[in-house]
């Protein structure tokens, strides 16, 4: 009888999953497949009907076209910009977050006001990225603006020959890239820190006690115990930050419209420009770029999971599998 009942209930598992599955198929899976198809066609122009779209005679034509181009406004430059701006934000971000984590979780130096610091460090993350981008643009504005006035007062303090001229910061490629990286860093280090701290708090305190008894100093404890123990959280941070970084859009798009000279055009901005700002509405090129990004993200994520996989756990899983098999044989 009990068995009959559980069979009866099983169908609710399917029924309750139906809304998710339908919404997923319609709003996510179909668009993904559709994007892939468009990437191999000649679909251009806002009003072109889907029925007028044709597969290219050279199926990879769009991919070759966008990978061939170089210089301002090319996909290759966009990919380079994305990677460089992500690295310049992620490396300092993870280092600062680790440092703050080490400080905040150390029992020996009890830091007061931790709660307040956490709340303040996390604050920029909650604010609309679009507003943050425009705010920084206002700070950097030329010929008059907050940063220019700081620059002027510094220059007139140090050199007597300063003529009071101002500087257009957003015309400087390296500087603008740096600003994008800084904003990303500023918005996300608090988030990363909170994640890492929760990881450290989750570690069994007995491990730290044992280390202390064995005479490990702070540095040893941190590098030999804390970091290996929060490996999965680190992986999570790395993967989510990487995916977020490879999709960076709001800040570079609004800070300086991907400029100067396309130097802050990320791949997401590139896709947006090709599809919606290019007078030819090149959906096919944009779709091809999307597919390339999709593949890059997938490969990197899988590689990361593989590199950082828990080898002990894997062994354990294998053992369990063997045990289960043995049990089955006995039955």
């Amino acid at each position: 009888m009990g068995k009959k009942k559980s069979v009866n209930y099983a169908r609710y598992g399917y029924i309750f999953s139906i809304p998710f599955v339908i919404a997923y198929l319609v709003f996510q899976l179909y668009p993904v497949l559709y994007t892939v198809v468009i990437g191999f066609t000649d679909l251009e122009g806002l009003t072109t009907k889907v029925t007028d779209m044709h597969l290219l005679s050279n199926p990879f034509g769009n991919f070759i076209d966008i990978l061939k181009g170089s210089g301002a406004g090319s996909f290759r430059l966009a990919l380079f910009n994305t990677v460089i701006m992500w690295l310049c934000n992620f490396v300092p971000q993870i280092l600062l977050a680790l440092l703050l984590t080490a400080w905040f979780t150390d029992d020996r130096t009890k830091i007061k006001g931790q709660g307040l610091f956490k709340v303040l460090f996390y604050l920029p993350n909650i604010i609309t990225a679009a507003s943050v981008a425009i705010l920084f643009q206002a700070f950097l504005s030329y010929p008059v603006g907050p940063l220019n006035s700081i620059r002027s007062s510094v220059l007139s303090f140090f050199s007597k020959s300063y003529d009071g001229s101002t500087y257009n910061f957003l015309n400087n490629k390296a500087f603008t890239r740096g600003v994008v990286s800084f904003i990303q860093f500023w918005m996300w280090y608090g988030n990363t820190m909170v994640l890492l701290i929760s990881g450290v708090i989750g570690i069994d305190p007995a491990i730290f006690e044992a280390a202390q008894i064995d005479g490990a100093n702070r540095r040893q404890t941190f590098f030999r115990i804390t970091i290996p123990c929060i490996r999965t959280i680190l992986l999570y941070v790395l993967v989510t930050s990487m995916i977020g970084g490879l999709n960076m859009f709001d800040i570079p798009h609004l800070l300086n419209r991907g400029g100067p000279d396309g130097s802050t055009t990320t791949t997401a901005v590139y896709i947006y420009k090709q599809a919606f700002q290019n007078p030819r509405y090149q959906y096919n090129k944009a779709a091809a770029a999307s597919i390339i990004m999709f593949v890059i993200i997938m490969v990197l994520t899988l590689a990361l999971f593989y590199i950082l996989r828990d080898k002990d756990e894997e062994e354990l899983k294998k053992l369990r599998k063997r045990e289960r098999k043995a049990q089955k044989h006995q039955l």
Binding site: S6, Y12, G13, Y14, I15, F16, S17, P19, F20, Y24, F27, P31, Y34, T35, V36, I38, W103, R108, I111, G113, F117, K118, V119, L120, F121, Y122, L123, I127, T128, A130, S131, I134, L135, F136, Q137, F139, V144, G145, S149, I150, W186, G190, V194, L195, S198, G199, G202, I233, I243, L246, N247, F249, H253, L254, A268, Y272, A275, Y283, S290, I297
Partner: protein, 287 residues
């Protein structure tokens, strides 16, 4: 004998470390607040004042004359943006919460054949970023004449893989099947059991996820920018993006006021919910 000077130097060391820690933390805190403070203050200053001294920490009295700029040049419409953003964020958050919980319940409470493969599928697609699917999504929506329709941004929230993953984790640790069984004995249907017994159990998880889903939807720029092109349908982040247009070029005070209008509600909400937000950040992380 020899241990005393050693411990002294140790405590001196830790004092130095402590000072460094506090200095760094205070500097970082100031860096977090300063941009918003300058923004708030400049929103109350006239464009002439800002032109002369772009940075000031003391508010002035031109808040309302800055506001008038938007009456004269009305491409930035905060009220419209606010209403649209509110409709999308509330709608999408409710859809995501309800249907993710329902799916998570299906994954936890019932034994069905495809359950494990379904869950593996959800894990696999959790990481697919929306921007990789945008072209297909737009083309589909465009040919169905559903651009400039707020529902286009609300309904996709029904399928939120990462929220399903989170809700499943939560249910596994907090749902006891005995409660479900006793509801069944009392004659409640499965759907009713979910609505009146399981959902209340999930309240803490729903609250955290609600905050993050709402903020995420509120702040999103990319999808609304592509889907909503009519002025009357624009959301807050799109309205903000209009502030860097040429018509506000020299209206420094108005730009800061516009930014303040978009940022201040978030800061106020954050002041009240910061405790839940900061402690909720880590809940979504894979353990």
């Amino acid at each position: 004998m020899s241990s005393q000077p050693q411990s002294l130097s140790k405590s001196k060391d830790s004092l130095v470390i402590k000072i460094i820690v506090y200095v760094v933390c205070i500097v970082l805190a100031v860096v977090s607040i300063m941009p918003f403070w300058v923004m708030l203050v400049n929103a109350t200053r006239s464009s002439v004042q800002i032109k002369e001294h772009p940075i000031s920490l003391i508010p002035s009295k031109y808040l309302f004359s800055n506001k008038e700029v938007f009456d004269d040049k009305p491409s930035f419409q905060p009220v419209t943006g606010f209403i649209n953003s509110a409709i999308i964020s509330v709608g999408a958050t409710v859809c995501a919460l309800y249907f993710s919980s329902l799916t998570a319940y299906a994954l936890t409470a019932y034994e069905w054949k495809l359950r494990d493969s379904f869950f593996k599928f959800i894990m696999a697609v959790m990481m697919i970023p929306a921007q990789c699917t945008m072209i297909g999504f737009f083309k589909m929506v465009y040919s169905l004449h559903l651009t400039n329709n707020l529902l286009t941004l609300i309904l996709p929230a029904v399928a939120a893989p990462s929220m399903v993953f989170f809700m499943r984790q939560y249910l596994q640790s907090s749902l006891s099947m005995e409660i479900v069984q006793s509801a069944r004995i009392d004659g409640a249907g499965e759907f009713r059991t979910f609505n009146s017994i399981v959902l209340p159990i999930m309240k803490p998880a729903l609250a955290t996820q609600a905050i993050f889903a709402f903020v995420g939807n509120w702040n999103e720029l990319f999808r609304p920018l592509v889907i909503l092109t009519e002025g009357s349908k624009k959301t807050m982040p799109i309205m903000v993006s209009l502030l860097n247009g040429d018509i506000y070029r020299v209206e420094y005070g108005a730009i800061y006021l516009g930014l303040t209008i978009t940022v201040l509600p978030l800061i106020v909400v954050y002041i009240f919910l910061s405790k839940y937000i900061v402690s909720g950040v880590s809940l979504g992380a894979v353990k």
